[in-house]
Amino acid sequence: MTVLKSEADRRRPWWEGVTLAALRSRLQQLLAFASLIVIYTFFAFASPYFFTYDNFISILYSTVVIGTLAVGTTFVIISAGIDLSIGTGMALCAVMSGVFIVNAGLPPALGVPLTVLFGGFMGLVNGINVAVLRVPPFIATLAMMLVAEGLALVVSDSTPIYFNDVSGYTGISTGHLVPGLDIPNAVLVLLAVSALSGLLLTKTVLGRYTYSIGSNEEATALSGVNVRRWKIAIYAFAGLFIGLAGVLISARLGSAQPATGMGYELQAIAAVVIGGTSLSGGKGSIVGTLIGALIISVLNNGLQIMSIPQEWQNVILGCVILVAVYADRVRRGEP
């Protein structure tokens, strides 16, 4: 019964019932948000170039790719899984976008959805390997990471695919849909899919089972849920974000870079963890993940603007991740 109770608790949206108890259960998310504000304020005082509207937009823009990957992988991590294939998978999806749109000449209106679906297909394969073939998620997605890394090079013949002659493709990322606001479309895309994912996670059966499988897989199965099927669904759903990230990065760069992507998975996982999602599953939120991704971007941006030597930037980022995971342990240790 405890499973059901905590499940109901988690289904509540973050803004609902801001009571003391709710605040305590959101302790780390709050902690993450507070850290974001503190870090942002610190940089605003430390450098005159940081606190400008243009730089604020730059920070949002640099969050897009990692943020998109992180939102998708939040579902996987809440279900107590892990997906290491999202970084190189994104590179493969970028290449596939090039294949669909540049090589095959499909219009972007068709090529983009196909690319997103291709990402979903990769996720589906991950899900089948994990749920049906019982390969541990770490290994199944590690294998997919290598397959995607290789395939991206094979399919593209190891050369970038340029979208020069495709009118409107780079506009997906760099264009400005809302006049006057100066916000790149890619940022709007991230915000839109995050809102949608937040709703799916808190309001639908997909979200309910994601939490439930993550907190107690056995009990979920015993209560009559087809865990196998839902796990496949979770990985496939998360895969759509790999495809979307592939579109967003290639649209920003104007090219599909086949050798890129390695390491993005770790940054996305870091964003999820900083945002308060537990690696042991059952806990987490989309808002938290977005905050986590923003903390990473703000640190990268602010430290560079302060002209901190690059070696130290990684040291500081590593320490922030450690603190976040430590806070997670403290929280889980609470009654």
Partner: protein, 307 residues
């Protein structure tokens, strides 16, 4: 509020407002010895000329997005000039246009940027450097024999230039030398070693091997060692401990090195000239040297070599 004022004052005095000009350098990497040497040269020149530099680069040379983010962040600081080694010219084009609209001169370095915006390009003439390697190999072989090429890749400009420069010099100046079809090892040490052993097996009459960058050269050295041949003329590119040791032990004839310290110096020099609005040539060639067991200890060569 005191904090704000003092922080602003400090940054402002060093920024574009006056005082020492700030040159933001966005390179292709920062951990490798090569880029650290570029940074060293840039710092030396900046100190001598009364300028400040910042130096950043992505973790790997395929991380185009990270480099674009870094260039964005540097532009936010409104530096007086930018030094930029593009991983992908096209991805950076909108930012170069932004630099132009902010009246920040851009100096390209290491490899050309496919754009009209940079005021000049500071780079090694890879074709000429590869030709120098070919010349020394032909001399060592007495103008006769079969030679192989292990090249780091067939797509990048540096890969193509270092391959073509070598092959063209051989075709024009050494009619007695047969050049085998180039093989590509991606600059990966292990892959280049495997390629080398198979070339040696397939060509028992092979007389020499040329490697086009440090990774390829380490692979070739290992491949030659594994095959047990000690009569091959091995010629490399760049430096690093493995090549230096191989030249010391006689396994390697010599190598061509770029001068990354000189590249850093010339980059800052060109950036300062651009800030002053001086006319500059379209290309500024940085130094490169042939080094072997005889001249390896010269101070000039030593300065260009990294361990």
């Amino acid at each position: 509020m005191v904090l704000v004022a003092s922080a602003c004052g400090e940054e402002g005095s060093g920024g574009s407002g006056g005082g020492e000009p700030l040159i933001s350098i966005v390179s292709k990497g920062f951990q490798h010895q090569f880029w650290q040497s570029v940074k060293q040269g840039a710092e030396d020149e900046a100190e001598a000329r009364g300028a400040r530099i910042t130096f950043v680069g992505p973790a790997t040379e395929s991380d185009v997005e990270e480099q674009v983010n870094q260039l964005t962040n540097e532009l936010a600081k409104s530096p007086d000039a930018i030094g930029f080694a593009a991983l992908d010219s096209q991805a950076a084009e909108p930012l170069l246009e932004q630099a132009q609209s902010q009246d920040i001169p851009v100096v390209a370095f290491d490899s050309g940027v496919d754009s009209d915006i940079p005021v000049t390009t500071v780079a090694t003439d890879n074709r000429a450097a590869a030709a120098l390697a070919a010349e020394h190999m032909a001399e060592a072989l007495g103008g006769e024999g079969k030679v192989a090429l292990v090249v780091h890749d067939q797509t990048s400009l540096s890969g193509k230039d270092r391959r073509d420069g070598f092959m063209e010099w051989m075709a024009e100046n050494a009619p007695g030398i047969t050049v085998l079809e180039p093989q590509y090892g991606g600059g990966d040490q292990l892959e280049s070693a495997d390629i080398t052993t198979s070339i040696i097996q397939a060509n028992p009459d092979l007389a020499g091997i040329y490697a086009s960058n440090e990774g390829s050269a380490i692979g070739v050295i290992n491949g030659v060692r594994e095959s047990g041949r000690d009569d091959l003329a091995v010629v490399g590119f760049d430096s690093g401990q493995a090549q230096i040791d191989a030249i010391d032990s006689g396994l390697m004839l010599g190598a061509v090195t770029q001068d990354p310290v000189d590249m850093g110096r010339q980059l800052v020099d060109a950036a300062l000239n651009a800030i002053d609005g001086k006319e500059q040539p379209e290309r500024i060639d940085t130094a490169f040297y042939w080094y072997d067991s005889e001249n390896m200890d010269d101070p000039q060569i030593q300065a260009a070599l990294y361990q």
